[in-house]
Amino acid sequence: MTKAKQSPSMQITKATYKQLASRFQPKRNVLLNSWRAFWVGGTICLFGQILQNFYINVFDFTEKTASNPTVATLIFLSVLLTGLGVYDNIGQYAGAGSAVPVTGFANSIASAAIEHRSEGFVLGVGGNMFKLAGSVIVFGVVAAFVAGIVKSLFGLA
């Protein structure tokens, strides 16, 4: 027979609880996750390279100008896959592999736009589209600004 203590008052401290709880955390397979991120991310980039070569060889773009239609095509495909409800599944499988390339950036914008469509075009779609991508843009611009200052100060231009 089990016997109740007088006060069931959680004698355990926060620190010891964190230790206890961490023992029950499911193991994350870092190696497998890295491999998945590597092959999916790599495949996306390989596909981008194929696109770029295609634009250079078929449409007379230069190596520099071909990047615009290449990125546009990748963004279009990513938004399409987001709309079809596929990209989030790829993201769960590949992690950073599908989040880091431009397709992940497009997904973050498209998914927010779709999600907030029910709140209207202005306050919903317009107001929330950059909810996730906004900080990427903000800190991207800040980083570029700092890099630009460093470059001109040290006369690297």
């Binding site: 089990t2 203590k5 499911p26 999600e115």
Partner: protein, 342 residues
């Protein structure tokens, strides 16, 4: 304290309410979405919608529709009309409890909106039983709902966002459960309820609710056994609401430390709603996790006489997106209700 003002004692210990034998769960109903319908408890649901929109134009309207349906079916099963219901106690996970309020507006019955995150199922049931037992109402509906997509939007990221979730994450159940509580001699006995304290053991990861909620469940369960003098072995089944694969073994371990062996009688609703092949990370969560299992499966097993006594301890994580972004740890609560075969 004036002793001449004494009322009949209905309190056991510090946290437990004892109800009379005439406080009954008259009828209950569960309505769920497609993924839940593919789960092992399919035969116990009253209605399964094949799509997440349930024929509505938004996730929020879909969730409201699920709650309306659950209440309508529960009333039908109890052979009761809307006019016989005095009060609705309800709650959900959306800002300002809109699912519940909008549903109550359509029904035209007085509402007490309640928020206990995923513990709302037993929070509302306990209060419904208390109000009926005290004579403030003849019939009370206790209802709650959650919707995977509306909860994702409320607490996390857009549904189609391709971020990776860790294995300790949980899958919010799309569904609604409703129970009608009344005075009488038919239906399941609601024998007692133990209301929980808010417990925060310093867990900050919103993708690890099981670890955050386990101590709250243990606090309430231990209080229940101490207050009532019952032992875990007195029950055919003890379930927690949505601790899932991470929180379940922690709760078991903590209960052992408190001096209670739960071994054979203990399960978790978060592990019962889906089968492991359904890719739901650690398991189910949401108000509808405990509601779907309790108002469907458990009620039917008690009615058929398969079980005599079941304790449902619904667990809720009381965080908000603002609180965890500001670095606050996750306070949790659990409420337990004991259901018995007639």
């Amino acid at each position: 304290m004036r002793t001449d003002l004494a009322v009949p004692r209905r309190k056991l210990g510090k946290q437990t309410w004892k109800f009379s034998d005439h406080t009954r769960l008259v009828a209950s109903a569960v309505v769920v979405g497609p993924k839940e319908g593919e789960g092992p408890l399919r035969p116990y649901y009253d209605k399964v919608y094949p799509d997440m929109y349930a024929g509505q134009s938004s996730w929020e309207k879909a969730e409201q529709h699920l709650m309306e349906e659950a209440i309508a079916i529960a009333l039908e099963k109890g052979k009761l009309g809307k006019h016989q219901i005095d009060l609705i106690l309800g709650g959900d996970l959306l800002n300002q409890n809109i699912t519940t309020s909008f549903t109550a507006e359509l029904l035209g019955i007085p509402l007490l909106g309640m928020y206990g995150a995923c513990s709302t199922s037993m929070l509302t049931l306990a209060n419904a039983a208390a109000l009926v037992d005290a004579g403030y109402a003849d019939y009370v509906v206790a209802a709650c709902s959650s919707h995977n997509a509306s909860a994702e939007r409320q607490y996390r990221y857009p549904t189609e966002y391709g971020g990776q979730k860790p294995p300790s994450a949980q899958w919010t159940v799309t569904g609604a459960g409703a129970a009608v509580v009344g005075r009488g001699d038919s239906g399941l006995l609601i024998s007692c309820a133990t209301l929980g304290k808010v417990i925060d053991m310093g867990i900050t990861d919103p993708y690890d609710m099981g670890s955050a909620m386990a101590p709250a469940a243990v606090s309430t369960l231990a209080a229940h056994f101490t207050d009532t003098g019952r032992r875990p072995q007195d029950y055919d089944l003890i379930v927690t609401g949505d601790l899932a694969a991470v929180g379940y073994p922690i709760a078991k371990e903590l209960m052992r430390k408190e001096g209670f062996e739960l071994d054979h009688v203990y399960n978790d609703c978060g592990l019962m709603v889906y089968s492991p092949e359904q890719n739901v990370f650690a398991g189910a969560s949401g108000c509808a996790s405990s509601a779907a299992v309790t108002y469907g499966y458990i009620v039917s097993q008690l009615l058929s006489g398969h079980w005599k006594k079941v304790l449902v301890c619904a667990t809720g994580a009381l965080l908000s997106p603002v609180s965890y972004q500001q670095g606050h740890s996750i306070p949790c609560v659990a409420h337990a209700v004991s259901l018995e075969a007639p």
